[in-house]
């Protein structure tokens, strides 16, 4: 398969028809001017990206540009920031500054970003993932969606009385949910006698259900494809520990994050808290899944720079969309 990545005109002296145009000295001058208020490493990363098209350099450029627009006294937050750092709440970036960031990123990375693509970028991680997907020509990550119980019930293969999610939010990089132990769950009558305790196996099930919801609502797919609910099954779990007895009245805060996704396996890490208390940790929960043809095709990709190879289906295997997203 990697051999197929070679452009069909390799070995001839015809110029490569597509791909980024060569990085000329005047481009470097313009780039230096555009990034004059960014750190030298930002400039270096941008030069490397423009010369090689290697998307590995993108996060450094994006963070460098964001840093330039953040008030100096807030920049320290970016130093060891995780992808969870919020643009508005943590960095004081308003929508106009966001546009300034976008315009500079567009200029530096030679790409085009549409207004409606910006609205869902809430964290530094969102921005990095977004730019990375654009550069690689991958489907754009879906925005964080907040799903009420009606929506969850409509899409999930599990149904009451065996559905353990009351509400959930799903992004391309994580899913969070809540479940309140009502005390009416039928199994509590026998688990245990006169002492209703949420079974640990059911808590693991609840995390698994959140992972299913992620696969259906959050996971990046291939163009024209969607994950079929009928194809999702549990395959295994590792490192499961229960830390706290959970009883009726407790509200379980569930969260899962994808760790690896390579068809047909998706592996997640998960945790449940009750308030601030750790209840359950699962180092790995693995599900199988498969694609079917989507009813509604996903949005077209409009990044103008697509590294060679990713353009044609027979070219080198593109990393699976999620990998690209979570590696960003």
């Amino acid at each position: 398969m990697p051999d197929a990545a070679a452009p069909s005109n390799l070995g001839t002296n015809k110029p490569v028809p597509s791909g980024p145009k060569p990085f000329a000295p005047e481009d470097e001058v313009a780039l230096r001017e555009a990034l004059k208020r960014c750190s030298p490493s930002t400039f270096e990363a941008a030069v490397q990206f423009r010369k090689t098209g290697n998307a590995e350099h993108v996060p450094a450029v994006v963070i460098g540009v964001v840093e330039r627009f953040v008030e100096p006294d807030l920049r320290i937050k970016l130093k060891d920031a995780g992808d969870d750092l919020r643009l508005i709440e943590d960095l004081g970036i308003d929508s106009l500054t966001m546009m300034e960031i976008v315009i500079l990123v567009e200029d530096v990375l030679q790409m085009t970003i549409n207004n409606d693509e910006l609205r869902n970028l809430r964290t530094v991680g969102d921005v990095k993932t977004f730019i990375d997907c654009k550069i690689r020509g991958l489907p754009l990550p879906k925005p964080t969606k907040f799903l009420p119980i009606e929506h969850i019930g409509a899409v999930m293969p599990m149904q009451p009385p065996f559905l353990f999610l009351n509400e959930a939010s799903v992004s391309s990089t994580a899913a969070n949910g809540k479940y309140k132990i009502s005390g009416q769950e039928y199994f509590l009558q026998g688990h245990f006698k006169d002492n209703p305790v949420m079974p640990a196996s059911i808590m693991l099930e609840a995390l698994g259900q959140l992972a299913v919801l992620y696969l259906l609502e959050g996971a990046p797919t291939e163009p024209g494809k969607a994950v079929s609910p009928q194809t999702i099954f549990f395959t295994g779990c590792e490192g499961v520990r229960a830390h706290r007895v959970c009883k009726p009245g407790d509200i379980l805060s569930l969260s899962i994050k994808p760790k690896r996704m390579k068809m047909p396996l998706a592996t997640f890490e998960g945790s449940i808290r009750v308030g601030q208390e750790k209840a359950v940790i699962a180092e790995e929960i693995t599900l199988t899944y498969a694609f079917v043809d989507a009813v509604n095709a996903p949005l077209p990709i409009n990044g103008t720079v697509t590294p060679e190879g990713a353009k044609t289906p027979e070219a080198a295997p593109a990393p699976t969309p999620l990998r690209a997203a979570i590696n960003a």
């Binding site: 008030e71 106009l96 546009m99 300034e100 567009e106 085009t112």
Partner: protein, 419 residues
Amino acid sequence: MPRVFITGLGFVTSIGNDAPTVTRNLRELRHGFELYPPFQKPDIPCKVVGTIKDFTTDSTDPEDWTFPARYKIKRELLRSMAPNGLFAQCAMLQAIDDARLTEPDISNSVTGLYAASGGSPYLTHYHHERLLKVGVMRCSPLGIVASIVGTLNFNLVAAFKIQGASCGFSSACASSAHALGYAFDDISLGRQKRMFIVGAEDGNVDAILPFAGMRTLSLQTDPNLASRPFDAARDGFVGTGGSTVLVLESEDEVVRRGVQPYAEFLGWGQASDGYNVAISHPGGSGSAASIANALRAAKVAPEAVDYVNAHATSTLIGDISEARALRSIFNSPATRPLVSSTKALTGHGLSLAGAMESGFCALAMREKFIPGNAHLTTVDPECSGLNLPRTTENRAANIMVKNSSGFGGANVALVFQRA
């Protein structure tokens, strides 16, 4: 009707960036002119500008600008400003300090801000050029609010969290005089208790040079001779920029806060020539009518006026027209007020002029002097019959009139009394 007082001033002008410096230069008749480097080219006929010192705003990127270190302005504010916005921001800070206003005094429903600038032709040009060159989607999202007329009020109202009346005035060289007049009305009608009046202009190539096309700029190469209002040898005006901010307050606020006002603002008037888009009425009819209206509104007899700060910009037609207007109002030789044009020192600040020169009047009242006519050697016979002192008089004027005129024959007169 609540009385209205001037309680605070801020200056960024060609003759000084603070009230003490401005006062000294006014009193000593020291001008702020220089050979302006961007004009020293063969294809640019005019050479002299009333330059703003200690500021550099010759980049289209506000983050390149330099200004005195005592002003701390965040990028968040700077990014949407034109050069005139920077000048005004600094003048605002001075005026707030001078009037001893606290944050709650500034941000409330009875404190407003009226502003006047010609916008920023400089940034308009830059952003439009960029639009054509790189496409609209690569243009700064703040290009518009930094450029268009109104940039001053947009920026300052947001920066100082003004919650009362806010508006921009656009009557060319009468703009900030209009702003003062309407601010007076708002306070005397009880709508507002306090108003900031801001005049500002970029004062750079794009703001000044277009007037050369109209042949109204002085072509003098000697900064000491370029601006000579009422002089027979005058040959046009000298451009300038900068900003002046005045704080107007109602009497009850003056009392409540226990501040000593510079002057009382007695009233104002306006009238239009109805004559020509750019040429003053030869007889000064509109200007005379506006002064008459102002004096009537202020309940001041012409004989009671001690000093008129004239609009006189040093143009051939304008100065004569104004001289005729002044002669028709102040027609008794025994009681003629002193008349001078401080544009001989500063140059013509366009939209800024009315506010800047009203600020000068306030300073002169408090400091008890009347500025003379700098650079006036031979009075144009057409401008005779006015009491034009060559030197500064060290006495307090009781009543001053600030006279202003703008394109389209808009005329405004403001009447101040020593407080």
